[in-house]
Amino acid sequence: MSTLVTTGVPSAQDIAGVTPPEERRARGPYATIECFQPIPCDPCHHSCRFGAIQEFEDINDIPKMDWSKCTGCALCVAACPGLAIFVVDETYSETECLIAMPYEFVPLPEKGQPVKLTDRAGIVVADGIVQRVVAGRKPAGTPVVWVSAPKRLATVVRGFILRKEG
């Protein structure tokens, strides 16, 4: 039984299945879709203007990526109702990667703000910095926040917490 259904945290195997091959990771930003169960849902496919999320034959299909078409635009990140899609750019700098995450909380962080980076269990794993905030229109939209993180944590960091003020 995968840890996904006992704890909510996908297993290493689950993650490996949605991470592109090394050479693609080295080429630029890519989306990774952490949606592992057949559920009646398809907005991700329709949100991608580049055809990188393959068409669904059945509404319950598990989304499949064509990474050769993905530009890392992160439109799908804001569109997915399951908040299951992230964009990772491992070419950001020598030591850091960029990770785009959906963030439906207040207050929205600001560019340049330091944050605590968390993993899929909500455990703090490193420090990071907010690099970009795409606010999304309230109430319909979902804001997308891009943070920089240590490159070695590109497949680990999937959340952040704002440092408490005062």
Partner: protein, 114 residues
């Protein structure tokens, strides 16, 4: 701060999705104590915002009761309003000057209110 908002921390001021527009504040009493709430919100919401959760005591075992369903289904939230018992605090709207009291026991059936 905006007008017409109480500063109580149980009130949600800022929400990522929802906006709670400022409403008219009214004064009412709970067990004789003066409180403020928003006109038209359920009595239970105003009381909860003021930190009051115990709304009545059960008639069998005299145990404290609060609301449970919040939509008028379960009658767990009965209070006395302006002397009238068996008013569901979760659906009855708050009005200026209401006198609200804790109800002891269940009293007659809720529908007897006129």
């Amino acid at each position: 701060m905006e007008t017409g908002r109480s500063s109580c921390k149980t009130r949600i001021e800022d929400h990522p999705i929802l906006d709670f527009p400022a409403r008219k504040e009214v004064t009412f009493t709970w067990e004789g104590q003066e409180l403020r709430g928003y006109e038209g919100e359920p009595i239970a919401a105003a009381l909860h915002a003021a930190g009051i959760k115990v709304l009545h005591t059960s008639h069998k075992s005299k145990r404290p009761r609060g609301f449970f369903c919040a939509i008028g289904n379960c009658s767990s939230c009965l209070v006395v309003v302006n002397g009238v018992p068996n008013v569901r605090a979760c659906t009855e709207k708050l009005r200026e000057g209401m006198r609200v009291q804790r109800q002891e026991g269940t009293g007659p059936a809720p529908r007897s209110r006129e």
